[in-house]
């Protein structure tokens, strides 16, 4: 059995089918990108997997356990961490304290949480920022801190929702390094939603494409870039002309 199995997941909001019989599976240690036009149901799918939305039908199996009906915090405790697309930091917590909240999932001791937070922050090269308020930081750093917070809980799998949105090229580069580090060196299975194609196509082992709630493609990046349906629905002719050959 695969590490994560999403079996025919459907999620409707009233008459709207946000996810329509989406099925895919992921192996342990894979890095999968999830792309698609706005409103395709990517974040909804994340919310279903991580327990934020109850699914309308279908099952989700994670690490040989059916997590379909679990609540969000229960899913998190089973080792599935996630970040959020829009994160408003009201600024009550410092960077270190934020990461400590993640660490507190695995330990009741403040010392233990503090030590682990220090490790994670060093690991993602955020050590210098640990005493700043989260709200004082630029967006790119905030996004990396939310990754660090998620990592503090020692997850087996990490769902990243648009960590590179709104960042400049250099910052995307930084985030990409962090993602690779998490995936390669820490051995965390990663799934990411992203509109920044440079990032998705470069780091992903495999890319899944959603359009109008349905899965329309699933394969290695270079195949996805050539897929006629994907080009029509999302990538566009120009992108492919400019980038073909780059992703090998």
């Amino acid at each position: 059995m695969a590490f994560l199995e999403v079996q025919s997941v459907t999620k409707t909001f009233g008459g709207l089918r946000a996810n329509d019989k989406v099925s895919f599976s992921m192996e342990r240690g894979e890095l999968v990108g999830l792309i698609g036009p706005n409103g395709a149901g990517k974040t909804t799918l994340f919310n279903c997997i991580s327990g934020y939305h109850p699914v309308t039908s279908g099952r989700i199996i994670f690490d040989a356990e059916d997590i379909t009906d679990l609540k969000a915090y229960e899913v998190a405790r089973r080792g599935m961490a996630r970040t959020f697309q829009v994160y408003v930091a009201s600024g009550d917590l410092t960077v270190e304290e934020n990461v400590m909240v993640g660490c507190f999932m695995r330990t009741g001791s403040r010392k233990g949480a503090k030590a682990r937070a220090g490790e994670v922050l060093e690991d993602l090269k955020l050590g210098d920022l640990s005493h700043y308020m989260l709200s004082e930081l630029p967006v790119a750093a905030q996004k990396r801190v939310t990754m660090a917070t998620a990592l503090g809980s020692n997850p087996k799998m990490l769902l990243l929702d648009e960590v590179a949105a709104g960042l400049n090229t250099a910052e995307v580069e930084e985030v990409m390094t962090s993602i690779r580090h998490v995936h390669h060196d820490l051995g965390v299975t990663v799934m990411l939603i992203e509109h920044v194609m440079e990032l998705v196509m470069k780091v992903s082992d495999r890319v899944i494409v959603l359009d109008y709630g349905e899965k329309i493609a699933d394969g290695p990046p270079e195949e996805i870039a050539k897929d006629a349906r994907v080009i029509k629905a999302y990538l566009g002719e120009r992108f492919v002309r400019e980038h073909t050959g780059e992703f090998r």
Binding site: A72, Y73, A76, D92, F104, R110, A113
Partner: protein, 335 residues
């Protein structure tokens, strides 16, 4: 062991704060030795009581951001448990106080469990409602004296009676409540650094993020609400022995609930010193205003006008209260 070390460890505060805190603590210890009026003494005791109420409120309202305007119901439960047990069965304070805490905590679970499904203003309104319902219930319940309330007669229990907490001189009450005031600070100092404290601050920041970090948001709120309740109920029990005369109109009024929340917010919700600063400003102001303006000039209700002004000032100037202003100035200096 780590918990005790955390409770007495204040090292994350600037040196300046600690020096001031020590001076103030020594002043509190020495205050009864200086010449003072009995009015000043009573005001000091009120200050400690309200500081403790505020610390309790601060756990759920400050660190957790769940504005609770129904603390008076727990003052009532604590006060009535102690008074009833003493008058009916002659059970002294030190035994009835934990029983009162137990009842209060049980009640907090009963109403906290459904109430925390509500958010923001709706939660605040619901806490007012439950508090007023309980007050009305006590108002007609003859077992606890109904609207006339209960009176602990010092003639029946000749002072000084340490077990029943019946004294003639206020100085005894002063040192007892002062002791609990220091204990309260130590507890809150541990709480803010504990796992639950961190989780609560994260919940205040963003509940969705909190869930993604494995926090059972609802349960964390209910638990903290129970902790806050225990504080309030304890002071309620003390109130019964100190005032010796409790009636629903007084002990469980909405005024008390609002005053508790207001003090903590004025001082600085979500900070260790906030409720103490708030009580330190408001309680003397309230007592002396009542004494000078209320009684002398006939301006009854001037304290209510004052509360209204403070609420407006907090929301307009700095939602984090006095402590928020201090921290803002500090941050500006650092940059």
């Amino acid at each position: 062991m780590e918990a005790i070390r955390d409770a007495v460890d204040f090292s994350d505060f600037p040196r300046m704060d600690l020096i001031i805190a020590w001076i103030v603590a020594l002043f509190f210890l020495a205050f009864p030795l200086f010449p003072h009026s009995s009015f000043a003494m009573a005001t000091m005791i009120q200050f400690f009581m309200f500081s403790l109420y505020g610390m309790g409120w601060n756990a759920i309202g400050g660190y957790g951001g769940q504005v609770d305007l129904g603390k008076a119901q727990y003052v009532g439960i604590g006060a009535y448990t102690t008074a009833v047990m003493l008058i009916r069965w002659d059970i002294p304070f030190w035994f009835s106080m934990p029983v009162g805490m137990f009842f209060a905590v049980v009640w907090s679970f009963i109403i906290g469990y459904p109430l925390f499904r509500l958010k923001g203003h709706y939660f605040a309104i619901a806490t007012i409602a439950t508090s007023l319902v309980l007050k009305d219930l006590f108002d007609v319940w003859s077992f606890v004296g109904a609207a006339r309330g209960l009176e602990i007669s010092p003639i029946e229990y000749p002072p000084p009676d340490f077990l029943r907490l019946i004294f003639k001189e206020d100085i005894n009450y002063y040192y007892i409540i002062l002791g609990f005031f220091f204990l309260g600070i130590l507890y809150m100092n541990w709480f803010r650094k504990s796992r639950l404290g961190f989780q609560l601050r994260c919940i205040k920041d963003n509940e969705d993020v909190a869930r993604s970090l494995g926090i059972n948001v609802h349960w964390a709120k209910v638990k903290t609400y129970a902790i806050a309740t225990a504080f309030v109920s304890f002071v309620g029990s003390f109130h019964a022995c100190y005032i010796k005369n409790i009636e629903p109109v007084d002990t469980m009024s909405l005024d008390i609930s609002i005053l508790i929340a207001l003090m903590a917010m004025l001082g600085g919700a979500g900070s260790l010193w906030g409720p103490i600063i708030g009580a330190g400003v408001l309680i003397p102001l309230k007592s002396y205003l009542k004494e000078w303006l209320g009684a002398a000039a006939g301006l009854v209700g001037i304290d209510l006008v004052l509360y209204a002004i403070i609420i407006m000032l907090i929301s307009a100037v700095e939602p984090r209260g006095i402590w928020g202003i201090v921290e803002k100035i500090r941050r500006r200096k650092r940059q």
